[in-house]
């Protein structure tokens, strides 16, 4: 793309806010009651996280990988692709993230989580619970109605936020697992910002929190 500096974010916005949010409405109607299963999976993640044990990292990684895979197929390819020609590329990234979670989290068991012992685990849990319980409320709170709610496990933004919450609480954070979620925060944050959505600051704020926390952990002196 030549003269790239002459382009603004609005030049890349292909749809209106009305079309974007209406897509969630049609998607939610199409997949009902998968949302209930997704919310149940989110509660199971918190329960397994709380319980701990040898396999908890593997179980949580498996559930997260399944969520990323579902979003790639059911939302990005089957729905978002109808209004955004870039959606198929996003779907590839989401499948890649599912594979990374499966490899590092299930095969190599590199995602055991801390529970409440340290500040980072409390922050991570807070971010996860925000994605699970608060994010679906944004649509009705902002006047768009329940049908346009974005729900963890089936919609991309809360799934990404929840994943960053898990990574924040990881005992041994695998930084490569944060790359695609952080890139999505930039892409979706820019989309919402350009549309003038009031929740446009949420994803960038979570991304900055994650980056800052990871940076702090990297520079912290060894005990």
């Amino acid at each position: 793309m030549s003269e790239w500096w002459t382009y603004s974010l609005s030049d890349f916005l292909l749809f209106s806010p009305r079309t974007y949010y209406r897509l969630f409405e049609l998607y939610n109607l199409a997949i009902w009651p998968a949302q209930l299963a997704a919310l149940a999976a989110g509660i199971v993640i918190v329960a397994v996280w709380r319980h701990g044990g040898r396999a908890h990292g593997r179980m949580i990684s498996g559930l997260l990988a399944g969520a990323w895979q579902w979003v790639a197929w059911a939302y990005l390819l089957e729905h978002y692709d109808t209004i955004n020609w870039a959606a198929s590329y996003f779907a590839i990234a989401f499948v890649l993230q599912a594979l990374l979670l499966a490899w590092f989290g299930i095969v190599r068991d590199q995602l055991p989580l801390a529970w409440w012992r340290e500040a980072r685990s409390r922050v991570g849990l807070g971010v996860f619970v925000f994605a699970l319980l608060i994010y679906p409320l944004l649509a009705p709170l902002l006047g768009r109605g329940w049908l346009q709610a974005e729900i963890f496990g089936v919609a991309p933004d809360p799934t990404v936020v929840a994943t960053l919450g898990i990574l924040l609480a990881a005992e041994r954070p695998t930084r490569i697992l944060a790359v695609i979620p952080l890139l999505w925060c930039a892409v979706s944050g820019a989309t919402l910002w350009t549309m003038g959505s009031r929740e446009g600051f949420v994803l960038p704020a979570i991304a900055i929190l994650t980056l800052a926390w990871m940076g702090l952990r990297r520079t912290a002196p060894a005990p």
């Binding site: 030049d11 292909l14 209106s16 049609l26 109808t82 955004n84």
Partner: protein, 304 residues
Amino acid sequence: MPQDLTRRDMLALTAGVAGALVPLAAPAQPRILTRPIPSSREAVPLVGLGTWITFNVGNDKVARDSSAEVMRAFFAGGGTLIDSSPMYGSSQKVIGYGLSKLDAAKVFSADKVWISAAASGPAQIEASRAAWGVPRFDLLQVHNLLSWEPHLKTLFAMKAMGSLRYVGITTSEGRRHAEFERVMRAQPLDFIQITYNIIDREVEARILPLAQERGMAVIVNRPFQEGDLTRKLARHPLPAWAAEIDCTSWAQVILKFIISHPAVTCAIPATTRVDHVRENLAAATGRLPEAALRARIIAHVAKL
């Protein structure tokens, strides 16, 4: 009143008289102004219909029907030229949906080729044609000069074979004007498409005069700066001089300013609303501003 006339008869009689009077009482639809395509002298209405963002509604049946109603009002108001691109998401398919419900013969189909790989151009054009559901495009343009050399060869070959009527190139927001000008000088284009409005007037200096000199029709995109200009002007009262050019809204002032430039063939505002498409088409009727009033419009808007 004759005794044998029932209430039903009276109602029918009243309705019949009223119906007969409607064509007399209703104002005749003003004639829509046209301008000829220089290379063929075919007349094109001065206001067309853009589809960027507005027609990208995916598979939403309600929104597709709404877009079809916009198209119905557009054709009913005398409009013909609809512009789209493979870049605009589902817009082409939504146009095709509308055309399948309406009289497709009225449409002047303007689309674009937008793909880096030159070899993929014909396949993309065919996919676009299938999405519209038209036998052939009236106009195909190289979108934002992307791979313009091989794509223009394809388009001129299609025109020579009779599978395309007109060839053009596009840019927007003032990008690549130097290269745009070079292509205009070197290629026998029928159309160019550029951004032009009261605020963005860079094309007045070289591009528009060159189009006149080379005999090229001009389509104007983003006349309302994606709504920013109309929203900004809506905060201010419509000046008294707007009545001198039969304008009842700022949107019409903006459009009349654009289409009054003698080089401009058609402006393509995009909308999702039937009332707006009617308002836009009304800008292609009545009086247009002369040079003095055009200067006054520029000065007035600059002060706001």
